[in-house]
Amino acid sequence: MKLKLALVIISVNCAVCLVAGVFVYSVASLGGLIRDRSREAHKLAEKNTDAGKKTVDIKLDKKTLMDREKTFAAARTIKESYSKVKTGNPQVYTRLPEREFFQSLYNFYFLSRLLSSKEVMLDDNTVEEFRLGGTLLYSMDKKYPFMKKSIYLDRSRKSHNKPNIRVGTNIVIIFVESLSQFFLRDDIHGVKGIFPNIKEMERESFAFSDMYNSSYPTLKGLIAALGSAIYLLDEEVGGTRIPVPCRFLFLPNILKKLDYTNIHIQAGSERFIGMKNLFIEREGYDYFYGSESLALDNISRLERGFGVDDEKVFDYAIEWLEKYPAKRPFLLTISTINSHPPYKGSYKHPDAGGNPMINGFYSTDKAFGKFWNFFKKSKFNGNTVVILTADHAMGNSNEYTAFVKNFEEHYRPFFDNIPCFIYFPGGAWKGVKNNTPCFSLDLTPTILEMMNLDLANPFMGLSIFSERPYYKRDKSGGQKSAGNKSEGQKGQDLSMKMDAQQFEKAKKILGFYLNTYREDRILPKDYKVQLY
């Protein structure tokens, strides 16, 4: 009897499922049919009314904001555009939530820790090779291998032939997205006038003429320049990007001790890989403004790339400087975005030849020009150092490949020479070039040296004036000694030939780096900035 009842219940449940299934299928089919019809009608209407514009680009200018109805209409369009950007792949909405939950939980709390649970120590030979390459390991502490007592490996090398930055001088560092030195070489590529403003700044500045980027992409590039650290951890664990799990010693951490206000303005998102948290909570920044803060009147353009337009970024920087009470010195870092694929070309360069990358650079330069003109006339001109460099070299985008196709010897995607111009107050050291082959990793130790500051640190870079000449980079960008292979690529050839022993060694070195990030062993937890 019970078996019969069970069978009946199973049959009824089955029938319920079938009915529900038929209902869903019918609704979907009907919906599809209606949609097809309405699409056809819409197409016809478009033809008749010439309303075929697909891009949504609205501006929340003053005029719109003053009209309530128009503002609401604009806000609706913004939301629509934003949701387009947020979720590029509609299939995410049909994934199983429970699976996403447990998988991410496992990846974040278990898998990622399992991969780095062992403390990796390097053997004496490798440590010696690192030392010969300019990286001192285990000199202070076994747990924090990069910690060393000074920015100098040998203090007797301390150079006096260098510009000085008085403590209390404001510092502005501008990281131009993907600006390989090659793009500034119009004598090679022949497209004149892409960077009139950056070139003007170059003429009025001191320059490191042979700097190579140490890392790629942007976040790693900023960590290299501001924290003098190679960050190699792959952000992808189980298909999702993880925030940086460790703390570095950033320039703002040090300047904070000297009563500086530290501010970062960037065109990209504040939340991306937990950047705002990293900068504010761990790296000494007081303020962090990304696209979310700057976006109100630019959000509709998000579909054309990440973040807001560089013009908005520099406008914001100008606004911030104008309002700054100037009671305390400041460090302002700015990160641009227009030259990031898919590129934002608010201005069209006449000789771009339809290449949006050139328009992106040209637009960044225009935006920078506005800032530069403001700066030169402002009260900050006499007490501010402005550094312009790149976050990293250009990647292998199609636009870059197309642009450089006739100059193949200059095609160096991801790792290449990048500019580094330093404008000193009043134009001091104008036109002087330092040709030492160096890395973006060296920027922070070099700034500290120019400020005559020294402290215990975990920096992987060296001062360009005093130390880098002793640990030269080879022509391809890599370190001459066997230590940090990761600091540059071997020419344009990314392939590597290794025997089993070399492979094991490379694995061990990589494991060592990853382990230090995972276990947060770059900077001791109780580390406090103590300047000598």
Binding site: N13, C17, T87, Q91, P97, I242
Partner: protein
Amino acid sequence: MKALLDDIKSLIFENKKLIMYGGALTLVLALYFISWHFTIITFGSFYSVLDVADSFLKRTNYYLLESFLFASIACIVMIAVRKPLIKRIFIGLFLAIFACSEIIRMVDWGALYFMGNHIDSNFWAHAFYTDGLVFLIAKESIALYVAVILFFSAIFFILKKMYLISNAEN
């Protein structure tokens, strides 16, 4: 054959309430699973269900099968098990698993709606020390809580009714 049909007829007639609640359980579970995707696509994205019709229908099939299995297991336990205590334990377990699923789905729905992605490593990295869960106190989240309570109440009500009916019959 006729005898068998009569037998089934009388069986249905005698147990119509239990059968009805079994069907209702299947339907509520299917609605719970499918409406999650339908609502997030409709309210939380720029897309329409028709844009993802293929994968949505595949997911629907999966959920229908899942609802059928869960509901049938619950019904069979109610019929086959005599001891009320074991039935209560089963109901408790069923509700606990359902509540877990609801909480996961609530948070994941919020993560998708407010942050544009499922719960991922980024979410965990921010969840408990900054603004990772802030959406749970947003006004819009009231709808999530209401949905959670409604579905939980419905399942609880159906299981309770099935429990009472099966106990009375035993």
